[in-house]
């Protein structure tokens, strides 16, 4: 835990984005996580991605459950709306909020405990409903906040700090998401900012549920030898399946340089996600192939990273339910609540 707050002093040459804000304007309060926690690094990647996407902080809703990971929304975008829910219940809060106001950018931050144990059901339904949100699953293989018990993502054979081995098979959020019909599935590593930032940007731009499962070492309880979610192990066994680059719509014209053998996927708003297969013939728009490849690498003890699957034109909750476009707060009261006369008339149809 750091007690000295980050001072207000700024680099005099700080760049501003289209809103005239600097990257530091996207920060939150000083983190109280353990020094070196992977979650902090993800927070910094989130700050960078929002800054670069020129998103106004007050147009963002950040939601989380319980856990060290779930504490992190405090550490970015101080000006955004926030909701810290019950353990594992963030997806339903996010679903409700999104249903009421689809015009905000939604970012949910959760942990492997929060999403894969107590909150597993909620997590599945949010994917199934294709809620338009970026879902960051900060995955460290343990319950960090409650002092390092194995979580449901711990690999078979991984060792706890005191030496005992985990025997239960893990739940892999990425393969589960693929089978549940998630429309955007990515995996990354907190220690690989270059890969993570474009994935966050693509996930935020994607209309529908975007899962980014991020290996995020718990320095205090799960960064020792024998752990499969340590910094060293992840660096050794990480396997980049595709290199991803996110090209916002407005920059499209300027990026006509050589992309090698890259493939472009156009998103709802016209921006582009460009990817280059590192593994031969890998196509992140083919769900079955993606699943098979993931399983193959898993069997080899490797962690597939990058943009694993994307269905760029998926239909999100609002489209599926055919709800109003405007946020409910902006719908005039008379329309939102037309009165008992209209209700009576409606009911008369079913009499």
């Amino acid at each position: 835990m750091t007690q000295t707050a980050k001072p207000s002093v700024r680099h005099p040459g700080l760049k501003t984005n289209k809103l005239g804000l600097t990257q530091r304007d996207y920060e939150g309060t000083q983190s109280t996580l353990c020094a070196g926690c992977g979650h902090d690094s993800i927070t910094a990647a989130i700050v960078q991605a929002f800054f670069e996407l020129n998103i106004a902080p007050h147009r963002v809703a950040k939601l989380s459950g319980i856990g060290c990971s779930s504490k992190t929304p405090t550490y970015f975008l101080s000006e955004a709306h926030g909701f810290n829910s019950l353990h594992g219940r963030m997806p339903s809060i996010a679903t409700g909020a999104n249903a009421a106001n689809g015009k905000l950018a939604y970012i949910g931050v959760s942990g492997d405990g929060d999403s894969l144990s107590i909150g597993l059901g909620q997590f599945c339904h949010a994917m199934r409903r294709n809620v338009n949100m970026l879902y960051m699953l900060e995955n460290n293989g343990v319950y960090g906040l409650t002092k390092g018990q194995f979580s449901a993502s711990a690999d078979v054979g991984t060792k706890a700090k005191r030496g005992e081995e985990n025997q239960m098979p893990p739940i892999d959020p990425a393969s589960m998401a693929l089978t549940l019909g998630a429309s955007f599935v990515a995996r990354s590593f907190s220690g690989d900012r270059k890969q993570l930032v474009p994935l966050i940007k693509a996930g935020l731009t994607h209309r529908g549920f975007a899962l980014v499962d991020i290996i995020s070492p718990c320095v205090t309880f799960n960064d020792h030898e024998g752990s499969t979610k340590s910094y060293a192990h992840t660096r050794e066994h990480g396997h980049e399946v595709v290199e991803t680059d996110f090209v916002p719509l407005l920059h499209e014209i300027q990026v006509e340089q050589d992309h090698g053998a890259s493939t472009a996927v156009t998103m709802h708003d016209g921006s582009v996600v460009r990817f280059r297969s590192v593994d031969e013939h890998y196509d992140p728009t083919d769900r079955d192939a993606a699943y098979a490849h993931l399983k193959k690498l898993q069997a080899q003890g490797e962690v597939a990273t990058g943009l694993l699957f994307i269905e760029p034109m998926s239909r999100d909750l609002h489209e599926l339910e055919n709800t109003v476009d405007e946020p409910l707060v902006e719908v005039p009261f008379e329309k939102l609540c037309p009165g008992s006369g209209v209700l009576a008339e409606l009911q008369s149809h079913w009499r």
Partner: protein, 605 residues
């Protein structure tokens, strides 16, 4: 880039911008912290070790440390380093027992010091504790050189000067006042000195040979001679309308002195425009505060004499522009006359050595300046040394002091028959400042306060007498603010590559984006590929050895680090640590790395 070699003291020394910029390498942040702890006496003594005259310099120093202060780059205004030095002198206790001890038994060597300015006095200060007999010859009847006769007492009270000069003379220096040396040959032949140091300054004010100079002579004065004559009370008045020609620091003292002895309409006339003025910005401010008018782009063409008396001066009004070679050249636009009663010429000083024979082995160059070795300060005659303004022309007090230190090292080596050129290198100590999980031994928090303004005696009061000191010094509150503004640049961020687990914590927490982990590259490419581009090439990049997990390197741009310690506080493995850097400066007979200034102070107080 090659990994940075932090074992070379120069690397960390350069990070301490003020100390690096100070000719005498005064450990500025350390003395500022001592002030913060209320340890004024220790702070004064720490200053004295390197700059010998903290009370004098705390009022008059040219402050090369301030423009280079990191705070300028971070927020625009330097820490008031110089005026904090004055605080140590104002608030110190009795230092008698802390001064260097002088051995009863002498080492049998006699050294002659010619001129009692800061250069010679520093040589005496360094040699007396080693058992030397120092014999000082001064042409005037009092010591101090230009500090005494030219720097006006409203900037530097005589009492402050006396106190610090006496600390040296009371070591047992044999002083001969009113004793000009008029033949160096004679001194060398007859008096049997083991070594001679020449610290006679640059005593000749420059002339302005234009029409009317001789006819108007009675009212045309040479700046440094005129200031001297005011000091000795040979001059106690001047006409109401005064023109000062030249816009260096001497001009500033001339115009302000004129204001105090009768000048009403006092103008400083410069050939060039403001950006090219030699005077320090703060001296210009002080003069303008006293309602002195500064006239730019006026080049003197003649003195106007009527009835044998000076009545004005004619100037070419000029404009400056660079020629093909980039040199500034002037074009005359007009000419104009400014009426006046007196003119003071303050256009520079020359050296003059009529008293050094040209056949005694001391070679002179084409400009009639003795040839002096830049490292040893020795002339072409063994055993004869020169320093201060006498060596290479007018500089300032702090350079004279540093020359004195270096000459003393040479004189000691010469008398011990050791090599003058094998000079001891600087040394360093690095000590971790970690006190606990989240606490450092220094105030690591960044303070947002702006620079404190020095308070001045009001205009009416200050003109009542010449010796009313204008600056009041800092009060407790101003001192506290300035202490807090110091960025503790000597508390270094020290990195151990093989401890790093590459978690990014330090990089993300750094408020000024100093840090990056990246693939190693040549410096020019690296500079552009950092968290924030490192555009100030005067500031170094630190590059680590390869990191254990990815073989990338940790790069730190030293430019804007505020030494907040957050990188070290956030690092889970203590790969970063905050370590205090002590520069160990060699002095005559004293390689300090066997004894650091701090331990010396704590044991003697």
């Amino acid at each position: 880039m090659q990994p940075t070699d932090v074992s070379n003291p120069d690397y960390y020394h350069k990070v301490v911008d003020c100390q690096w910029g100070c000719p005498a390498h005064t450990p500025v942040p350390e003395y500022i912290r001592l002030i913060g702890q209320g340890r004024f006496t220790e702070s004064y003594m720490l200053n004295r070790e390197s700059n010998v005259f903290p009370g004098v310099l705390g009022r008059t120093c040219d402050r090369p440390c301030e423009p280079v202060c990191r705070r300028v780059r971070v927020e625009g205004e330097p820490v008031a380093i110089c005026r904090l030095k004055r605080v140590t002198s104002d608030l110190k206790g009795d230092v008698t027992d802390l001064l260097p001890k002088i051995p009863e038994e002498k080492n049998g060597k006699r050294v002659a010091l010619i001129g009692a300015g800061p250069a010679s006095l520093t040589v005496a200060n360094d040699l007396m504790p080693l058992g030397y007999e120092c014999v000082l010859f001064e042409r005037m009847d009092r010591p101090g050189g230009l500090m005494r006769t030219n720097i006006p007492s409203f900037r530097l009270p005589g009492g402050v000067l006396d106190e610090e000069i006496n600390m040296i003379l009371d070591m047992g220096v044999e002083v001969h006042y009113s004793h000009p040396i008029d033949s160096l040959g004679k001194l060398l032949d007859e008096d049997g000195f083991d070594a001679v140091f020449i610290g006679t300054g640059a005593p000749k004010g420059k002339e302005l040979r234009i029409p009317g100079r001789d006819e108007g002579g009675a009212n045309i004065h040479i700046g440094i001679d005129w200031l001297e004559s005011v000091h000795f009370e040979h001059t106690d008045s001047i006409g109401e309308r005064v023109l000062i020609i030249g816009v260096g620091n001497t001009a500033m003292d001339c115009c302000r002195t004129s204001k105090r002895i009768g000048g009403k309409d006092v103008r400083v006339v410069a050939r060039k425009s403001r950006p090219y003025f030699k005077a320090s910005a703060w001296e210009l401010d002080d003069a303008e505060e006293e309602l002195v008018q500064i006239v730019e782009n006026h080049s003197p063409s003649r003195f106007i004499i009527e009835d044998g008396r000076l009545v004005g001066m004619e100037f070419d009004v000029v404009e400056w522009a660079p020629d093909e070679s980039g040199r500034l050249v002037s074009t005359k636009l007009d000419s104009t006359v400014i009426p006046c009663d007196d003119v003071i010429l303050a256009i520079g000083q020359d050296n003059a050595f009529p008293w050094i024979e040209r056949d005694i082995g001391i070679e002179f160059n084409e400009w009639e300046m003795p040839i002096v070795d830049r490292t040893t300060f020795q002339t072409t005659r063994d055993g004869v040394f020169i320093g201060g303004d006498a060596a290479w022309g007018p500089e300032n007090i702090i350079w004279a002091v540093e020359h004195g230190h270096q000459a003393a090292i040479s004189i000691h080596a010469f008398c011990e028959q050791e090599s003058l050129t094998d000079r001891l290198p600087y040394g360093m100590n690095l000590v971790s400042q970690k006190m606990g999980l989240h606490s450092w031994s220094y105030g690591s928090a960044y303070d947002e306060s702006r620079r404190s303004q020095m308070s001045h005696v009001d205009l009416v009061e200050r003109f009542k007498a010449l010796e009313v000191e204008v600056e009041l010094g800092f009060d407790a509150e101003q001192t506290a603010v300035e202490v807090a503004r110091c960025l503790n640049c000597d508390i270094q961020t020290d990195f151990t590559a093989n401890l790093c687990i590459e978690c990014d914590a330090c990089i993300d927490v750094c408020p000024v984006y100093c840090l990056t982990m990246t693939e190693n590259r040549p410096e020019d490419e690296l500079r552009l590929n950092l968290t924030a581009p490192a555009e100030n090439i005067d500031q170094d990049l630190y590059v680590s050895a390869d990191l254990p997990q990815t073989a990338r390197v940790m790069v730190k741009d030293e430019d804007l680090c505020v030494h907040c310690g957050l990188c070290a506080e956030r690092c889970p493995t203590a790969a970063w640590d905050m370590q205090k850097f002590d520069l160990l400066i060699p002095y005559a007979g004293k390689p300090t790395w066997t004894k650091t200034p701090e331990t010396e102070l704590t044991t003697s107080s």
